[in-house]
């Protein structure tokens, strides 16, 4: 405990504010469950989806992508120097998904029936795919996070069991998922065979063994993330008649995936910078700069794809007319892509942690704008009056995020998340 300097001064006002916002959000959520969704929101029959889907679900999930991106960089693609960032990223992702699920319970009309997804399978539905992926991936994140708890309480036996069992858990989840979504024995057997071969290879020594985290567990996290990050885009392929042509593209799933990788990286930079400031610990500036360079490559790829997509589909003309949609598009592109790219590609600005932080923050904001554009701004509800979120909708989302930040800070204080703390906790063989 002694390694983490007390930062009561910073904690005082900020956390009080977060607690108040959290309490307000919870109170409004209780009100919503007693009176119905209409009592707190402006959603109507023409706009069944609004701020909650755009911000909590679409943006929230994309911003939690840092967990799988960093895990992939470190454990699969050999970027071992980024190891100190893995645990904070996994924790953020885990909390992010729990928060998103909480928010989804508020948005769903009949959340107590959510178990129906496990019982009734409609594999044609992108929503079914997203639901299952999120359930599986949240479970994978929990399993990935467990070593932190085991280390904290010195449970070395549990840690050993975890190393042996978690790859099997990962394989079972992936195979069940493959069967549910394909309804094809052939696909299921092929996918199962590849995964089992990997595990046998690792156990038999034909493949290298990761001493920290079982590789199959990491792979499961990456595969589930790839699938649902893209499927969130697939959701909107159902509505060519409602979503503006500015955003409606058959490539929407690919765009959603790439922008999630982008936002995930940016979020890791933002969150590391803030937590370094908050806990008064050393900033991994060198590592973050590396991420920043990677981020700029992903952004260039995304920008090129967006541009290409608009040219190929020939909707450039719509961007030059002064409609709310075109304006929202330009805000999204300038704030979320052009400005931060200018910062990231200027060496003097990148050299400072400050420039990197602001660039990453802009990417995060741009991502949120993008998702709200797809879910709300770009949607036409026919003859129904245009939808604007009511303050209570926003307050519930803000409350949920506030509770999440408080939980993150509390966990970072009491568990070995950062490298300094892990060293103090006696190293530990986990990842």
């Amino acid at each position: 405990m002694a390694t983490m300097p007390a930062t009561k001064g910073r904690f005082g006002f900020g956390s009080l504010l977060l607690a108040v916002l959290g309490a307000l959000g919870i109170a409004l959520a209780i009100y919503r469950f007693s009176r119905g969704i209409g009592a707190v929101s402006n959603l109507n029959q023409g706009y069944p989806w609004g701020f909650w889907i755009g911000f909590d679900v679409l943006a929230g999930i994309a911003l939690a992508a840092g967990g799988f991106v960093i895990a992939a960089v470190v454990h699969i693609f050999g970027g071992e120097r980024y190891h100190p960032l893995v645990r904070p990223a996994i924790l953020t992702a885990f909390l992010g998904y729990l928060l998103f699920i909480t928010a989804l319970l508020v948005d769903l009309g009949r959340p107590w029936m959510i178990w129906d997804m496990i019982i009734f399978h409609h594999h044609e539905s992108p929503m079914f795919e997203v639901g299952w992926c999120v359930m599986c991936y949240t479970f994978v994140l929990l399993v990935e996070f467990l070593p932190v708890v085991f280390e904290r309480y010195g449970m070395s036996g549990a840690l050993r069991a975890w190393k042996n069992l978690s790859p099997l858990v990962a394989i079972v989840l992936l195979v069940v998922f493959a069967y549910l979504l394909s309804h094809s024995g052939t696909w299921t057997v092929i996918i199962a065979a590849v995964l089992v071969l990997y595990e046998l290879g690792i156990r038999g020594g034909a493949l290298p063994r990761d001493r920290g985290v079982p590789t199959l567990l990491i792979m499961a996290g990456i595969i589930f993330s790839t699938l649902h990050q893209s499927s969130l885009g697939t959701l909107f392929l159902m509505v060519p008649h409602k979503l503006s042509a500015i955003w409606y593209s058959p490539a929407l799933p690919v765009m959603f995936f790439i922008s999630a990788v982008m936002a995930g990286l940016a979020m890791v930079i933002v969150e590391s910078t803030l937590s370094a400031w908050f806990f008064g610990r050393g900033l991994e500036l060198d590592l973050l700069r590396g991420l920043g360079r990677g981020l700029s490559w992903v952004m260039l790829l995304y920008l090129a794809l967006r541009g290409l997509d608009i040219v190929i589909r020939g909707v450039g003309g719509e961007l030059l007319v002064a409609t709310p949609q075109a304006t929202a598009f330009w805000i999204e592109i300038v704030v979320g892509l052009l400005l931060p790219l200018a910062v990231l590609l200027t060496p003097e600005w990148l050299a400072t942690g400050r420039g990197l932080f602001w660039a990453a923050l802009l990417v995060v904001i741009g991502l949120v704008i993008n998702r709200i554009n797809v879910a709300v701004t770009g949607i036409s509800g026919g003859y129904w009056p245009t939808y604007y979120p009511r303050w209570m909708e926003v307050a519930i989302s803000v409350g949920i995020v506030s509770v999440g930040i408080l939980a993150y800070l509390a966990i970072c204080r009491h568990f070995p998340i950062f490298e300094e703390k892990r060293a103090a906790a006696g190293g530990g063989a986990g990842a």
Partner: protein
């Protein structure tokens, strides 16, 4: 596959269908205001209590305004977007035609409402225990060998129940027999890949407030390629991850990978 043919030319605006629908489906009366919708239309729109609505439209024909009636209700698509969207299969297309709602399965995600190009499903936003509501083509009456309540009530055969193929032929025949009266478009023949409810009218359907910029293919065609790619994406991802894991860690053969502690 059964369906309904709705002929706006024969409709007198009596709203017998609207009342019959409420009676059979036990929908409450709504507190409404006269002239809240266009002209004598009442109520203004479909709702959880009103699954069938005669719309009143003043349309200029040959220089003078005339009433032209439309009908709002579920179109019972042949491949319905709502059913493709539903994650739990609460909305189901029956082979006999109706798109029905299993209220016990519904989780309230409202993706069906987003998917529906005709803006038909209604959600009970004012209820803590909300459901989706919409027309069922009186599937329960059909099971008893009866025709839907609206068609039964219609005095002018403006609503006809029957096999969809036969209704398409009937619609074509009605248009062909009075080509100067009807607009030459069967609404629902191609909209959203074809629907079981078909409309014909004397004026273009835009003038009746119908949504007309609807894709000609089923909405499922938009999501199907992405959904079908999922097993291939899984396999591809597994292979790429496996290969790069092997390659990236080859340089340190014999040594455990990733464990720098």
């Amino acid at each position: 596959m059964k369906g309904l043919l709705i002929d706006s030319v024969r409709c007198t605006g009596c709203r017998g269908c609207q009342v019959a629908c409420k009676q059979w489906n036990r929908r409450q009366a709504e507190k409404t205001e006269f002239f809240s919708g266009p002209g004598y239309q009442n109520p203004a729109d479909l709702s959880k209590e009103t699954w069938c609505l005669v719309t009143y439209n003043e349309v200029k024909i040959n220089g003078r305004f005339e009433w032209v009636f439309g009908k709002k209700q579920c179109m019972h698509c042949q491949i319905p977007g709502c059913a493709s969207a539903c994650p739990v299969g609460a909305l189901e297309k029956l082979p006999s035609g109706p798109v029905i709602y299993h209220k016990g399965k519904c989780i309230g995600c409202r993706y069906c409402m987003l998917a529906c190009p005709f803006l038909v499903p209604r959600f009970e936003f004012d209820s803590p225990n909300p459901y989706i509501t919409k027309c069922t083509m009186c599937q329960d009456r059909q099971e008893l060998g009866e025709i839907p309540a609206c068609a039964k009530a219609c005095p002018t055969q403006a609503i006809v129940f029957g096999e969809r193929d036969a209704l398409v032929a009937e619609a074509r025949q009605r248009i062909a027999s009075a080509p100067s009266v009807y607009t030459h478009h069967i609404y629902g023949l191609e909209e959203a890949g074809g629907t079981c409810v078909l409309h014909i009218s004397r004026v273009p359907f835009e003038d009746l407030g119908y949504i007309t910029d609807i894709p000609k293919r089923p909405l499922y065609a938009g999501t199907a390629p992405a959904m079908k790619a999922i097993p291939a994406v899984m396999l591809g991802a597994a292979l790429i991850l496996g290969a790069s894991y092997k390659l990236r860690n080859r340089t340190r053969a014999g040594e455990p990978a990733g464990g720098h502690e």
